[in-house]
Structures are given as structure tokens and as C-alpha cells.
């Protein structure tokens, strides 16, 4: 491309956003890295260097391993579901139809529903005597109620369904904006060629929003690895029997929060979380850039 702007123009445009991120995000994170080698406490006091102690403790912490395994399972299941389902939902509510604005808004409701109420309703659904177990029992699908809220793995799967439930509306919105950019003439040409709705979805819609799909995939995997509220809600903040149904963010919150926090250990956990989330992001970013011209 020919020279279209002066050298400093992009920097002027980027400067405010960059400054913000450095002050409110990058700098505190560097601070977190520093704290991870100390025994800092939330209330200050003497801070001592402890070398890699927090990191060696972390390797021997059984809960950290449970959390890591949960996170990976979480991501592997959420990634395909939340990359595809919201796109289908967006296609469903995209065209102008009577009352469609109502549906679009309603689907967004789970994103903003209060955690307390979500917890109340979902526990009512998933409890031993909850709706799902009662219905399954009445239909003789189940002999004994499934312990959705107390079994090591069922809790994780219950939390995943909650995440998908919340994520549908959120990513639907991202897709809706992208669908607006899909060229209308391509659809018409494909329709003219006799392509049905399904064919057009794969041959026109998907290629048109591919960039957005990668972005959504990145967001989904990052937030799956950072799951917090779903597990917190379903286990009453306890992380399940034995604390196995926990996540890295739950552990970070537990250690960083409150008067008795262990900021050093929480910081080491944060660094671990950063490294873990970086992996899928790099993979996806690489896949994405490969198709760039």
C-alpha cells in the first residue's frame, strides 16, 4: 500500500488506549509478578523476599492441580459449544421479524442476571430433589437422583452448562454485529444458485464471520480458564467436598481476598493462570494469522 499517513499518526491514535492499559493493567501485573516472589500480605507490613517458595508450594498443592485439570476440561468442552451455538442463535435472531428485538434482549438476560438469583434457580434445578432429578425420577429415567451439586465431576459439568447458558447471549451479541458485515450480495448469489439455508450458512455466513469466530474462540477459552462465578455459585463458595471443584481464579480470590490473604501466594497463582491462558490464545492467534494475506 502506498504511504497513506504520516509516521506518527498511528501512534497518536493508539496512545490513549495504550497509556490506559499500561497504567491499569500492565503495570499492576508486573507488580503481581514481583509480589509472587515475596510473602506480601494485603495489609502491607514487612515484605520479605522468599525466592521461588510460593512456586514450589504451588506444585505441591493438590488443590492447584485439581483446579488446573478442571480448567482444561472446562475449556475443551466450552470452546466448541460457545463458538458455534451463539452463532446459530445469532443467525436465528438476525433477520427483521415482528418481535425479534424482544427475543434478542431476552437472550441477553442471563448475562446480567444477579449471581444470587442464578444460584437460587440453578440449585433448584440441580438439587437432589430438584426439578431435573424429580422429572427424571417420575419418568423412570433415573433410579437414584444424580448428585449434580456434590459429585466431583458432575459439579464441573453443571458449572459448564451454566457457563454455556450465560455465554449464549453474550457471544450472540458479538456475532450479531459481525453478521451485519457479511455481504448481502454473496447471499443473494448463493440463493440464486439454489443453495439452501444450511448450505448458505456454511458457504457464506461462516467464511464471512471467520475472523469473529477466532476472536470468540479466544474469548471463550480465556474465560473458560478463568471460570469463577459458576463454580462459586454451585458449591456455595466452598469448592465442593474436599475443595476439588475449584478453579485457579477461585483459589486466587480465596488467597488474595480478605484480611488474612496471602498476596504472595495469590500472585504466584496469578502468574500461573497467565501462563496457562496464554497457551490457547497463542495457538488460536497463530491459526488466525495464518489465513491473513
Amino acid at each position: 500500500m502506498a504511504r497513506t499517513h504520516r509516521w506518527f499518526t498511528p501512534w497518536v491514535l493508539i496512545a490513549p488506549a495504550l497509556a490506559w492499559l499500561v497504567v491499569f493493567s500492565v503495570w499492576p501485573s508486573i507488580n503481581t509478578l514481583r509480589l509472587s516472589f515475596t510473602d506480601a500480605k494485603p495489609l502491607g507490613g514487612d515484605v520479605g523476599w522468599v525466592g521461588a517458595r510460593n512456586y514450589t508450594d504451588l506444585i505441591h498443592d493438590g488443590q492447584v492441580w485439581s483446579a488446573l485439570v478442571n480448567s482444561v476440561v472446562y475449556m475443551v468442552i466450552c470452546l466448541p459449544l460457545l463458538t458455534v451455538l451463539p452463532l446459530l442463535l445469532a443467525v436465528l435472531v438476525e433477520p427483521r421479524r415482528p418481535g425479534i428485538a424482544f427475543f434478542r434482549t431476552a437472550y441477553y438476560v442471563p448475562v446480567i442476571a444477579s449471581a444470587v438469583v442464578v444460584g437460587l434457580i440453578w440449585t433448584w434445578l440441580l438439587d437432589d430433589r430438584g426439578l431435573i432429578n424429580n422429572v427424571a425420577g417420575a419418568l423412570h429415567i433415573l433410579q437414584h437422583p444424580l448428585p449434580f451439586l456434590t459429585d466431583r465431576w458432575l459439579v464441573v459439568f453443571s458449572a459448564i452448562s451454566l457457563t454455556v447458558w450465560k455465554g449464549l447471549g453474550y457471544y450472540m451479541v458479538v456475532y450479531l454485529a459481525a453478521l451485519g458485515n457479511v455481504r448481502r450480495d454473496l447471499h443473494e448469489a448463493a440463493a440464486m444458485d439454489g443453495a439452501g439455508a444450511v448450505r448458505r450458512f456454511f458457504s457464506v455466513t461462516v467464511p464471512g464471520v471467520r475472523g469473529t469466530m477466532f476472536l470468540v474462540a479466544i474469548l471463550v477459552s480465556v474465560s473458560a480458564l478463568r471460570v469463577f462465578s459458576e463454580l462459586f455459585i454451585l458449591t456455595g463458595g466452598k469448592g465442593g467436598p474436599g475443595g476439588e471443584d475449584t478453579s485457579l481464579v477461585m483459589l486466587i480470590q480465596q488467597y488474595a481476598g480478605g484480611f488474612f490473604g496471602d498476596l504472595g501466594y495469590a500472585s504466584a497463582l496469578s502468574v500461573l493462570l497467565f501462563v496457562v491462558t496464554l497457551v490457547p490464545m497463542l495457538v488460536l492467534a497463530r491459526l488466525n494469522s495464518r489465513r491473513e494475506p
Binding site: 491514535l13 441477553y108 458479538v174 451485519g180 475472523g211
Partner: protein, 269 residues
């Protein structure tokens, strides 16, 4: 086809709005009616709007709404303006270091913010903004996610439009405002919605920044309804509904912009 579409629409609707309906129904229940039943009762037997009136009497709802709107306006403004500028520069202007900048924005997405809240507060206090609404809004005024959303939107514009404008002698600013911006209105709406809701729903940060009760935002102020010895679930539900209304309004107003510019097109079902 039409029936199928609406059947699907209603099906998804049933899954998504459950908690909302429960909250709505609790807020309308009279004092003589049980709230916690083993099977949630959705239809209030003694419907009343009294709980809403009592919320307005108990806490200065309008003042809190005003505070929240100020914070939300600053947050939306900051994100729309600064994320647009940055997103456009990274997507449409070639310059040395562009990939590094993009990588930086991407990696901010995964920086763990959980342990930084106190150090952020110290920063805001050092700026002299403790106990102020600007201090509440400030850290959220640019979010990496929004920069990336706009970067993604700008990148999808066809190159030839831009080149035509270059030939016409348009500079970068003119190309941004006249050519690119109108084409990404949908994404701008999404950014505005995300920023608004983020600011509106945030609880912990405003709680920490603000100390004077009159300056609290709505989300924090409504927590006064669940005070010591003074829990009233009906009022709490009414408060939640009050907080929900502005979000619903913003969303339904902005969602129509998702398709502006290509309105007549779209996928035909």
C-alpha cells in the same frame, strides 16, 4: 419455516429468562405471601407494586441512578472513542511495531486482574480521585476487549474502499470518520453495550473507591436494602428490577444498530 423459527425462539426464551421471571415475581409479591417455596411460584397471589415504592422510600434511588449514569457515560464514552482510535490504527494503518501493539492488547486480555484491585485503588487515590465518580469510571474507560472487537470490525472492511479514499486524497482521520466508522456501527453498539453493562453492574470497585454513601452507584446503593437485621427479599428483588430497566432500555435501543448499513440484507431464513 416461520413456525420453526418462532418455536425455536420461544424454546430458547424459556431457558434464558427463568431467573429473571422469578425475580420479577418476587418483587411483585405481597407481604402475606411465601417467597421461598420448594417449587418456585411464579404467579404472585397478592400482586403489589408496594415493594417498588418502599425501595424508593428506603434509599435515594434517583441519586444512585444519577451516579451510575455518570459512571456509565464516562465508561461508554472512553471506550467508544479510545478503542475506536486504537482499533482503527492497528487494523487499517501500516506501521512498524503494529504486531507488537496488537500482541500487547491481546495479552492484556489474559492478564489476571484478581490481585490488583488494591494497588489500583492506591493509584486512583494518588491521582486524588478517591471517593469520586471519575475515580470509579477511570480504570474501565478503555478495555482491551473493546479495542480488539473494533480492530476485528475494521479489519473486515474491504481494502478497495480505503484505497479509493486514499486516491481521493483523504487523510487517515477523514478515512476513519467518513468511510470506516459508518461501516462498524454495529460493533460500536456492541462496545457501548458491553461498556455500559460493565460499568452499571460493577460492585466491588465502586464500593472500594467511594466512601461517602451519597456517592454510591446503584448496584452498591441497592445493597443497603440487605442491611443488618433488615433483610427484605421482596424489596431486594424490586431493587434488582429497578437496576435492570436501564440495561434493558439501552440494549433494546442499541440492538437495532447491529444491522444499520446492511439492514435490508442479512441471512434470509
Amino acid at each position: 419455516m416461520k413456525t420453526l423459527r418462532y418455536t425455536l425462539l420461544v424454546l430458547v426464551l424459556l431457558i434464558t429468562v427463568g431467573p429473571f421471571l422469578w425475580e420479577l415475581s418476587t418483587s411483585l409479591k405481597g407481604a402475606g405471601e411465601d417467597i421461598y417455596t420448594s417449587t418456585p411460584q411464579l404467579i404472585p397471589h397478592q400482586p403489589t407494586l408496594g415493594n417498588y415504592v418502599r425501595v424508593a422510600e428506603a434509599v435515594p434511588v434517583w441519586r444512585y441512578i444519577g451516579n451510575s449514569l455518570i459512571v456509565a457515560a464516562l465508561t461508554v464514552g472512553g471506550n467508544v472513542v479510545f478503542a475506536t482510535l486504537a482499533g482503527y490504527a492497528i487494523a487499517r494503518l501500516r506501521f512498524r511495531g503494529r504486531r507488537v501493539v496488537l500482541g500487547l492488547f491481546l495479552s492484556t486480555l489474559v492478564l489476571p486482574g484478581e490481585v490488583t484491585i488494591i494497588s489500583q485503588f492506591v493509584t486512583v487515590r494518588d491521582m486524588g480521585l478517591a471517593d469520586s465518580l471519575l475515580g470509579v469510571a477511570l480504570p474501565g474507560m478503555v478495555a482491551a476487549l473493546n479495542v480488539l472487537l473494533l480492530y476485528n470490525a475494521f479489519r473486515m472492511l474491504p481494502d478497495d474502499v480505503d484505497q479509493a479514499a486514499v486516491v481521493d486524497g483523504a487523510n487517515a482521520w477523514q478515512r476513519l470518520t467518513r468511510v470506516a466508522l459508518p461501516a462498524v456501527r454495529g460493533t460500536l453498539a456492541v462496545v457501548a453495550i458491553f461498556a455500559f453493562i460493565g460499568a452499571w453492574d460493577d460492585f466491588l470497585w465502586p464500593l472500594i473507591v467511594i466512601t461517602t454513601p451519597e456517592k454510591y452507584t446503584l448496584t452498591v446503593g441497592l445493597r443497603y436494602l440487605s442491611g443488618t437485621f433488615a433483610q427484605d427479599q421482596r424489596m431486594i428483588a424490586a431493587g434488582t428490577m429497578i437496576a435492570f430497566i436501564p440495561i434493558a432500555v439501552i440494549f433494546s435501543v442499541l440492538q437495532r444498530y447491529f444491522f444499520k448499513g446492511v439492514e435490508e440484507g442479512g441471512v434470509k431464513g
